[in-house]
């Protein structure tokens, strides 16, 4: 296992808050520690509780598993989490009682609520009335109009910051979950890469990858896997509002042809935690010298960031290091970032190098327990470019890598 611990490279030295990252996560302990983090945020912000409607927030607060559902199905049949300040456990309202954690007390597991429907909003009002006094100050992540009409009497504040603050620091068990999700993702990608050849379609790669991911133990899909063919120049790629690259575009039955450069991006989840596989593949060809150089440059940029990554370093310093290693050219796409966090969402805080701007990055300080997906992009106008993702967790002394270190078909001989 690679790590940035300086003098010692032993994985046992990778600690977060003095705790080692376990090989196998203790899921009950993980849920309990997340609950403590949420309770801490409620106290700090003087909130009486939270009402959560977004899938990933519900997963974080309760540990509830839900089958993967497309957007509107996920909305109509959404699970709802209610966190009451000072309570010992979250309340979960769900259709999917088979996904409720075994340690959730019986009186905290309830049948579904339908906050999207006027027909049923009275049950929601009644449920919230059981947990909160009139006038309570409650964080909420999403409001439906039915709720705005049918659930009066509370002071609503945005829960986004509360959730983000709790989620940004991962417990050692959470890091173990991300590492395992990533491991499953990378194993399934071995089969997909093996299937890659001229004449295969993007959807054929999805077919091979997804089948294998579920056989191996993935809990749910995340995003539709991406196998974007990168045109050699910006001009030849899709038009964009900012003139920079378009990425990621949606998978179709597009045929992959000899010499195509493919930027792969896929996330499957395990126990609610998202993985993030990013690599560059070539169709029917080995990397030529120019492509090897693109990879080397990518590695130099990633290593420049990893070289300074440790608690106390600011996001802005990481951005500067990346840009300097790329000869002054910002090595990421305009609408994205140098790096992003990953957890119960595919992209969450810390977001590094976004349109929040330099002041934001200056104040965003790396801390033990942050998980960072580094995804620099090396663009070589005329010959496409190289993109991959390295996932690391910031530890007490440096970082530990959570993603694998194979970059096939690049790397060898580079």
């Amino acid at each position: 296992m690679a790590s940035g611990n300086g003098s010692t490279d032993r994985p046992a030295a990778a600690t977060i808050g003095g705790q080692a990252i376990p090989d196998q996560p203790d899921l009950a302990r993980m849920r309990a520690q997340r609950w403590q983090r949420l309770q801490h945020e409620l106290t700090t912000r003087d909130l009486d509780g939270l009402v959560l409607l977004g899938s990933s927030a519900v997963t974080y607060a309760t540990g509830a598993e839900m089958p993967g559902h497309d957007g509107d199905r996920a909305a109509l049949f959404r699970a709802v989490a209610v966190a009451v300040a000072g309570d010992a456990a979250p309340h979960l309202y769900t259709c999917y009682d088979d996904g409720a954690p075994a340690d959730l007390p019986d009186d905290h597991l309830h049948g579904p609520l339908f906050p999207d429907l006027d027909d049923g909003v009275d049950q929601l009002a009644e449920a919230l009335g059981e947990h909160f006094a009139s006038g309570a100050r409650i964080g909420i992540d999403h409001q439906t109009h039915a709720m705005r009409r049918g659930v009066p009497g509370f002071e609503w504040v945005d829960a986004a910051d509360v959730i983000a603050a709790a989620k940004v620091i991962k417990t050692p068990d959470e890091v173990a979950c991300i590492r395992y999700a990533q491991h499953l993702n990378e194993l399934a990608m071995v089969d997909a890469l093996r299937a890659l050849r001229p004449g295969v379609r993007q959807i054929d790669l999805s077919a091979t990858f997804l089948r294998r991911a579920f056989e191996l133990g993935a809990s749910a899909g995340g995003i539709d896997p991406i196998w974007q063919v990168m045109a050699p120049t910006r001009e030849c790629g899709p038009w964009t509002v900012h003139g920079d690259l378009a990425y990621p575009t949606v998978t179709t039955d597009r045929f992959l042809r000899h010499g195509d450069v493919i930027w792969v991006d896929a996330g499957i989840t395990w126990q609610g935690y998202v993985s993030d596989y990013g690599r560059t593949w070539l169709v029917g060809a080995k990397p030529n010298n120019r492509q090897h150089n693109q990879f080397r440059r990518w590695r130099i940029v990633a290593d420049a960031v990893l070289g300074i990554l440790k608690p106390g370093v600011s996001a802005l310093q990481l951005c500067y290091a990346a840009t300097e290693a790329n000869d002054g050219v910002r090595p990421w796409i305009e609408h994205f970032y140098l790096a992003h966090g990953v957890g119960t969402e595919s992209a969450e805080m810390p977001l590094i190098g976004t349109d929040f701007g330099e002041q934001f990055d200056r104040q965003l300080i790396m801390q033990p327990g942050m998980v960072v997906v580094l995804e620099p992009v090396i663009w070589d106008e005329g010959a496409a470019g190289y993109r991959a993702e390295d996932i690391v967790a910031v530890t007490d002394n440096g970082w530990v890598k959570l993603s694998g270190s194979a970059y096939d078909p690049y790397g060898l001989g580079a």
Binding site: H69, D119, H145, I203, S219, I223, T240, H242, A246, V250
Partner: protein, 388 residues
């Protein structure tokens, strides 16, 4: 190609045909947009800001990245009545239909303030008096009140639900194609089903099959579960690693999307040789419940008629919906779980109808179909042999 083929079967495929025989997507989108603009006029809504996946797709027709789960509200599409234009959050033009010009795209932002700046530049939006949204967050509500200071934020639901409820002929064709894909997936699951295979492996078979058919992104991963021959039987949504056992009844419930339109289908199959003696009886009870529900699916009836039909067929309260709307994903009405008694069934609605029965010592049995509500009855779009 005649405008209306006598054999509708020629429409049920995903391949592009040179004679434009199949769904005319430009017409489909134009008819959807026309319904939205008409609804905005009826409800005096000057602009819509939409974030729900189905609504965004309905107004824009843009192919956006599929992802599971539901996110808090964000304005992903904007419709302005005055200019009769649809604007979409997309940083690039790939996947955006030709009627939406490049100047109607606004790029993705992480910073909500930047997003609001992009919205402020949309012609006609700042002058809107009544703006309909399909959700809000406290932060976005605050930012929107700065953007459109004089506007009243109202519910986009009446406009969007009314537009989406009754399907156009092109939408129904899309739902028929989705039905055929769901049938193909059911065949693949049926063939793979054997003692010893795990639910997880069956989900893998499903994913592989629908991906190769061009729909890698399914409506739901809740597609199969084995029911026990001993002990309590409950409906399960999540796949397990448990191998399917001899004599068990296994629910196979694959859905499929075509151009965003969702069809669902379910059948239950016994595994292996030693089928419990009462499995046939359970299957008949399931079929009777289904037939009763289907008979109640006709224009003019309400959700209460479905509840009554279900009870009259000898069933108690079901732990899952008797029916819900389908279109660009799942939609209202929801009939079952105590909701939807007053929901009116109208000609041209599509429903997912389902019958779930269970008996300790035998197992569980699910039938699910995608159904078009008609004037005097209904047509079932999904076809598959029943368990006997």
């Amino acid at each position: 190609m005649s405008p209306v083929p006598r054999d509708r079967g020629v429409l049920i495929g995903a391949m592009g045909l040179e004679d434009d025989a199949r769904v005319d997507f430009a017409r489909l989108r134009a008819q959807r947009r026309a319904k939205v603009f008409a609804g905005m006029e009826t409800h005096h809504v000057d602009a819509l800001m939409l974030g729900a996946v189905g609504n965004v797709r309905y107004v824009s027709g843009a192919r956006t990245l599929g992802r599971f789960g539901v996110l808090p509200f964000a304005p992903l599409a904007v419709v302005v009545a005055e200019t009769a234009r649809v604007h979409v959050l997309s940083t690039w033009d790939e996947g955006v239909p030709p009627e939406i010009g490049r100047d109607q795209l606004y790029g993705m932002s992480w910073n909500p303030v930047k997003l609001m700046e992009a919205l402020a530049a949309i012609p006609g939006l700042r002058q809107a008096r009544r703006v309909g949204t399909d959700g809000l967050t406290p932060t976005i509500a605050g930012l929107l009140s700065q953007l459109v200071t004089t506007a009243e934020l109202v519910d986009a639901g009446p406009v969007m639900a009314a537009a989406r409820r009754i399907k156009t002929p092109d939408e129904i064709t899309c739902l028929e194609v989705a039905s055929a894909i769901a049938e193909a997936a059911l065949t693949a699951l049926d063939e793979a089903l054997a003692p010893g295979i795990t639910e997880r492996e069956l989900l893998g078979v499903y994913y592989e099959h629908v991906s190769r058919l061009g729909v890698p992104y399914p409506p739901s991963e809740s597609v199969c579960f084995a029911t026990p021959t001993r002990g309590p039987v409950r409906y399960r949504h999540l796949v397990s690693d448990r191998p399917v056992g001899q004599g068990e009844l296994v629910v196979l419930a694959p859905g499929a999307l075509y151009a965003g339109y969702e069809a669902g289908l379910a059948r239950t199959r016994p595994v292996g040789e030693s089928v419990p003696p009462d499995a046939g009886k359970l299957a008949s009870r399931c079929a009777r419940g289904m037939d009763a529900l289907l008979a109640a699916c006709r224009a003019g009836n309400t959700g209460a008629d479905l509840y009554r039909a279900w009870q009259d067929a000898g069933n108690r309260e079901a732990p899952l919906p008797l029916a819900h709307g389908l279109g660009l994903g799942a939609e209202p009405p929801l009939i079952g779980l105590g909701r939807g008694s007053r929901a009116a069934l109208e000609e041209g609605m599509i429903l997912c109808v389902q019958s779930w029965v269970a008996e300790q010592g035998v197992g569980g049995c699910l039938e699910r179909a995608t159904v078009l509500v008609e004037y005097r009855g209904s047509s079932t779009l999904t076809r598959y042999e029943r368990l006997k």
